[in-house]
């Protein structure tokens, strides 16, 4: 139990200070004498590249880790958190980067978990449900407490996370990259909610890689790099570029891709229909053509069929109807393996789950698709020498930061895993590349790098289908933008033809003509 927690009434958190926090993991010093503080009613943003130590710092405040050194003061009094229970007790809540939900349980069960019930030892989910409705209405739209978490969209899941914290009476809420998985509309909704929470007296710590969000919502910004504190600034007194420099240690270039003359159609989708995981119709007749040397961006609120579309193209989901042509060859019924071999590359959205084998080494992950290619085998035997040459070339060319080729990939940072998967897919000289959320959760430096690579591939004549919920990314990179809504394409526009707002309207189901008029 936390020391000195008032026995009866939960105190209001006025001020939190973290002093000289040091935290070491095997092989990394994740936090090196970091100081951080936050005051009541403030939104304090925490910035840094992948692996800078942001999550680690916050997990210590939430009692998930114990600092090796340093002190945590709340309202001036030192506290030791042995577990999240202690942090929850003093009124701290945390929305984790990777949601901490049990998919096989309902919303109400997830919220009630770990709490005393009014009818102890029995559950009283009705009471919990009522309060969930109340809270969700107060801070946005209602969430069905009896829905299973696996049935919810990512945005809804995040709201469950927020409700979980509010339900426990948290007055300080840590949000670890809450916007990484949200659509622009959802981000807006979230910001409305967050502002409302601040007005109600809550204190927020906000982690993000997106500078405009940080500029928009925070009062102060703290930047970490390599586990060390770089500095804390008032948001009003700092510029974007200054922040980038603090984070990355250099300037980051703005991309400005020039239009290209596109080649012949390489990927053609005709009348594609498919079912979703929940047994409903997810795709209701998709028609789309992508030319070589062209990036087509697919915009849309998550859950409108993006994942299903990507999976149908990649061959891991059954289509009900329609055809897919690659270089005029019908690949609709080709098994996955054959599609890969004939030039389709796919960067899955859930890269840790679907794109890489965590325990495999960097080198082994490079050959997930091509381990049986005659280039790297003698009969059934793998040719390590040649594999090694190729893998180290790839790591070098794509600037993947890894201690070695034999390091298990799980020890790499998110951005570097992403780069490696990218490297793998692009090195196969595909005809068509499907990139789903290629920069989700990746820091600025790595994002820049990945974007450059995509443009480079475009120049080489590859047809690229970019599926992203980050509208900025889509608008910067795509030659044409298709908007997906409820399993249908609402319209396809040239890059400079439509504004972000117009695309946003189409994402909300407004027809193209109507949207373009507004």
């Amino acid at each position: 139990m936390a020391h000195g927690v008032p026995t009866n009434e939960k105190q209001q958190i006025q001020r939190v200070e973290m002093c000289n926090i040091t935290k070491c993991f095997p092989g990394v010093l994740a936090n090196d004498r970091v100081c951080f503080d936050v005051n009541q009613g403030e939104v304090h943003a925490l910035l840094g590249e992948n692996g800078a130590g942001k999550s680690t710092l916050m997990r210590q405040l939430y009692g998930l880790y114990r600092p090796d050194e340093g002190e945590i003061l709340i309202n001036g009094r030192p506290y030791t958190f042995n577990s999240p229970a202690d942090a929850i007790e003093v009124g701290i809540g945390m929305i984790h980067q990777h949601f901490m939900l049990v998919p096989t349980m309902t919303v109400a069960e997830n919220v009630a978990l770990g709490l005393k019930s009014s009818r102890e030892p029995m559950l009283d989910l009705d009471k919990v449900s009522a309060r969930i409705r109340e809270l969700s209405q107060l801070y946005g739209s209602i969430i069905d407490p009896s829905a299973y978490v696996w049935q919810l969209s990512v945005g809804e899941q995040q709201r469950v996370e927020i409700i979980k914290a509010l339900y426990r009476g948290a007055s300080l809420i840590i949000l670890d990259e809450p916007t990484a998985v949200l659509t622009p509309q959802e981000v807006n909704d979230l910001f409305v909610t967050l502002k409302r929470m601040v007005k109600d007296g809550h204190t927020l710590i906000f982690i993000s890689h997106k500078l405009h969000e940080v500029m928009a919502i925070s009062n102060r910004v703290t930047v970490l790099r390599d586990g060390c504190l770089i500095g804390t600034r008032l948001t009003s007194e700092v510029t974007r570029n200054e922040l980038v420099k603090m984070m990355v240690g250099r300037d980051v270039r703005q991309l400005n891709p020039q239009p290209l003359k596109s080649g012949p159609v390489r990927l053609e989708i005709q009348g594609l229909q498919a079912m979703g995981d929940r047994g409903t119709e997810a795709l209701r007749g998709i028609n789309l053509q992508i030319h070589g040397g062209e990036i087509v961006g697919l915009a849309g609120v998550s859950g409108n069929g993006q994942r299903e579309l990507a999976e149908c193209l990649a061959g891991v989901r059954k289509t009900n109807h329609g055809t897919i042509l690659m270089d005029s060859v019908d690949i609709s019924f080709m098994p996955l393996k054959q599609r890969i071999d004939s030039g389709l590359a796919y960067i899955p959205e859930e890269r840790m789950r679907d794109g890489a084998v965590r325990e495999f080494s960097v080198q082994e992950n490079v050959f997930l698709h091509d381990h049986a290619s005659p280039k790297y085998t003698h009969g059934i035997f793998l040719d390590f020498a040649r594999m090694r040459v190729f893998a180290s070339e790839l790591v070098k060319n794509f600037n993947v930061k890894t201690p070695g080729l034999d390091t298990p990939i799980k020890n790499l940072s998110g951005g570097n895993i992403q780069k490696l998967i990218m490297a793998r897919e692009l090195s196969r000289q595909p005809k068509v590349l499907i990139a789903a959320q290629p920069t989700r959760g990746v820091d600025i430096g790595a994002t820049e790098y990945i974007h450059q690579r995509l443009l480079q591939q475009r120049e080489e004549g590859i047809a690229i289908f970019l599926i992203s919920e980050d509208l900025d990314e889509i608008c910067v990179l795509s030659d044409r933008i298709a908007v997906l809504y409820e399993g249908r394409i609402m319209g396809i526009v040239e890059r400079n033809e439509a504004t972000v707002e117009q695309i946003g309207l189409m994402m909300a189901g407004i027809s193209m003509t109507e949207a373009m008029q507004r």
């Binding site: 070491c24 993991f25 095997p26 092989g27 990394v28 010093l29 090196d32 586990g227 990649a314 891991v316 098994p335 996955l336 393996k337 054959q338 599609r339 890969i340 071999d341 796919y346 899955p348 859930e350 789950r353 679907d354 794109g355 890489a356 084998v357 965590r358 325990e359 495999f360 082994e364 050959f367 997930l368 698709h369 381990h371 049986a372 085998t377 059934i380 035997f381 793998l382 390590f384 890894t402 201690p403 070695g404 080729l405 034999d406 390091t407």
Partner: protein, 374 residues
């Protein structure tokens, strides 16, 4: 990363760092603790633990007969363990070793009796293959049920053990029953003795040590190469570590799961065949001797690594042999040895946590130093 540094990383991984020495000490400490508790039990039974343990060590290692005996026991443990390595690497839990050994032994009894005119150079390898095939078939059934119908393999392999046992009961009291037992009216539950040319060659006279041990070691190397140097092994490991990523890479996940269970069954089948051809020279009740279970322990002790399973099987075999010797020497009930062995397993596996923690602590210290230096 400069190449030399990478080289070093590779080398330490391959040949072990000084830290591994301590990692090896911890399981030994766990074992000592178990033996200490065993010593208390011995004292209660009014037996001097020092004498008892001296007999145990001596029994396993102190003589040619002890050492060969250890090797003879380690052989089926290793063979079953190799199959377990393959299955568990594919994330398939094979509890069916007992049944797979039985059918391997059944096939390896039937075959030489049927083709008793074949010369030894032909009969021995083909019998081993037949044993492999029979075990593989027994592993294939839960494999295909898992692949096609998603039936949990723990359930099926447990049930298949019982089925195999009854199959043996059925055959051993009908077609495979020793005709001599029928003539003499004893109706013993054993088969006829196999033709002599089908026996595995004895390596040391007056002991049971046979060429099966060498075969097992050779197979361990082959399984190592199979798992880490071939495309099939690569796929099996990928399926075990992350079926989703494997599927997204075009790997047929159910096929590889079924394949790994089939291979696991095959290795247990060879173990059964080797027991018949190398040790018993006929089929008997109790042919499995529980190797189907202890093979799992050996493989897990060996870190699910075929080469690691070799010392693990030897350790386990030695404990069993030494335990028997101790029982004979100090006349304690056999079950005491079982209980002590159980404790050894528990404490050795429990000590793994500290090994991991020590390794982590060393790495942390290294990280701090590096930071301070650079």
């Amino acid at each position: 990363m400069p190449p030399e540094k990478e080289e070093i990383a590779v080398r330490t991984r391959r040949f072990g760092s000084p830290g591994m020495f301590f990692n090896a000490l911890l399981p030994l400490a766990g074992m000592l603790l178990a033996l200490l508790i065993g010593a208390v039990m011995l004292l209660i039974l009014k037996v001097n633990p020092l004498t008892a343990y001296a007999e145990m060590v001596g029994g396993a290692l102190g003589s040619v007969s002890g050492i060969t005996q250890t090797l003879v026991k380690a052989t089926p443990l290793l063979l079953v363990g190799l199959g377990i390595c393959i299955a568990f690497r594919a994330s398939v839990i094979n509890i069916g070793g007992e049944g797979q050994i039985i059918v391997g032994a059944l096939a390896a009894t039937w075959f030489p009796l049927t083709f008793r005119m074949w010369p030894g150079w032909l009969l021995v390898p083909s019998t081993l293959l037949v044993g492999f095939a029979a075990g593989a078939a027994w592993g294939f059934i839960p494999g295909i049920l898992k692949a096609r119908l998603k039936v949990n393999e723990i359930l099926t392999t447990v049930m298949m053990n019982a089925i195999a046992l009854q199959l043996m009961n059925l055959l051993i009291r009908s077609v495979l029953m020793d005709p001599a037992g029928i003539t003499a009216g004893t109706y013993l539950a054993q088969s006829e003795r196999l033709p002599e040319q089908s026996w595995l060659t004895r390596l040391v006279p007056q002991t049971l040590l046979h060429t099966g041990t060498l075969i097992a070691v050779a197979l361990a190397v082959i399984v190592y190469i199979f798992l880490w140097r071939t495309t099939i092994g690569y796929r099996i490991r990928a399926v075990g570590l992350n079926p989703d990523a494997a599927r997204f890479s075009g790997i047929n996940v159910p096929f590889n799961q079924a394949l790994s269970l089939t291979l696991a069954g095959g290795f247990a089948g060879i173990a059964g065949a080797v027991e018949v051809l190398g040790v018993q020279h006929r089929l008997l009740e109790g042919i499995t001797s529980g190797y189907g279970f202890s093979g799992i322990v050996a493989a897990l002790f060996g870190g699910l690594h075929p080469l690691g399973t070799i010392p693990a099987a030897l350790l386990f075999g030695g404990l069993l042999v030494g335990g028997d010797k101790m029982q004979r020497a100090v006349q304690v009930p056999n079950s005491l040895i079982d209980a002590i062995l159980g404790l050894v397993v528990l404490f050795v596996v429990g000590s793994a946590l500290w090994s991991r923690r020590w390794a982590a602590r060393r790495q942390m210290a290294a990280a701090k130093n590096q930071k301070e230096l650079g």
